[in-house]
């Protein structure tokens, strides 16, 4: 880290290799698509590189980077929303990675996630899929921990309600 701060690009490359997967996970939880998540990761690392002199060594690099990547993903989401405002409703902006999948739960889950707000969607993915704590999520998304907790509760309840009929069919 210190070498990277002194301008050693190979040291920063090592940081990229070490953190890119987790950074992608953060970005993917917030971004609507894999492509947007990838852009957010690239933007995030670029911002982090530019801001290296402001990084304090006593901080955890991962947490610092995740906040930057999350902001990049949120920015990309806002830009996409403005761009798509006239053409696409929000609830279809979550394409599946594998369009050929016939997994009913997966299909319904995509539809259910489309019913959630963007923040609720991010919170449930960051918590339930990626295992971040409420505090970490709050810090990443710039919201109080209690709000992250409440968003998670509402997101889970909404998904349970939207997918309830799947279990009643069993």
């Amino acid at each position: 880290m210190l070498s990277a701060q002194k301008g050693d690009s190979s040291a920063f490359a090592a940081l990229v290799r070490l953190h890119e997967r987790r950074a992608y996970a953060v970005a993917r939880a917030i971004a609507a698509t894999h492509e947007d998540a990838e852009d957010a990761v690239q933007e995030g690392f670029l911002h982090a590189y530019r801001a290296l002199d402001r990084f304090r060594p006593e901080q955890a690099f991962g947490a610092w980077l995740h906040r930057i990547v999350a902001n990049a993903a949120l920015d990309i989401g806002r830009r996409r929303k403005v761009r798509d405002a006239d053409s696409l409703p929000e609830n279809v902006a979550l394409p599946m990675r594998d369009p050929a999948s016939d997994d009913e739960l997966r299909r319904r889950l995509v539809a259910g996630l489309g019913e959630l707000s963007q923040r609720q969607r991010s919170v449930i993915v960051l918590h339930d899929v990626e295992g971040f704590t409420h505090g970490e999520i709050g810090s990443m998304l710039g919201i109080p921990e209690g709000t992250a907790r409440s968003d998670l509760h509402h997101a889970r309840a909404a998904l349970r309600r939207l997918l309830a009929d799947l279990w009643s069919e069993r």
């Binding site: 990761v41 889950l109 899929v129 279990w167």
Partner: protein
């Protein structure tokens, strides 16, 4: 329709979580990550190289901005002083001029009045 409700103790919750994990799964191909890291570093290198030619210009721009700031500050100070000076000058002009005129009237003899008096004396019966 069958879902594996045996995964974990909470059945359907775990089904949702597992479906979410599949949906948001990161690419597993190692080449993908190598390529992404490479692209990130390429962007950073390009930016750094861009900085090299831009740095002297950026330094000049900074000096220019600083000079403009100083000039603006000097102009503001001069303008403020000018504004402060203007009312006092106007006040002095307003108060001094009549005072001088009155003084002149008091000191200088009134030529017209003397002439008039002489004329009256001459033509008087």
């Amino acid at each position: 329709m069958t879902f594996d409700s045996r995964i974990g103790p909470n059945g359907r919750e775990d089904d949702i979580t597992n479906a979410l994990r599949r949906l948001y799964a990161a690419p597993v191909d190692e080449d993908y990550w190598s390529d992404l890291a490479q692209r990130i570093m390429t962007r950073i290198t390009n930016e750094s190289e861009g900085d090299v030619w831009w740095q002297p210009l950026a330094r000049l721009a900074r000096v220019g901005v600083l000079a403009a700031g100083v000039a603006l500050a000097i102009a503001s100070i001069a303008l403020t002083r000018n504004r402060t000076a203007d009312p006092s000058l106007a006040y002095e002009t307003l108060t001094d001029t009549p005072r001088t005129s009155l003084l002149q009237i008091a000191i200088e003899p009134d030529v017209n009045t003397e002439r008039e008096a002489t004329l009256r004396y001459v033509i008087a019966p």
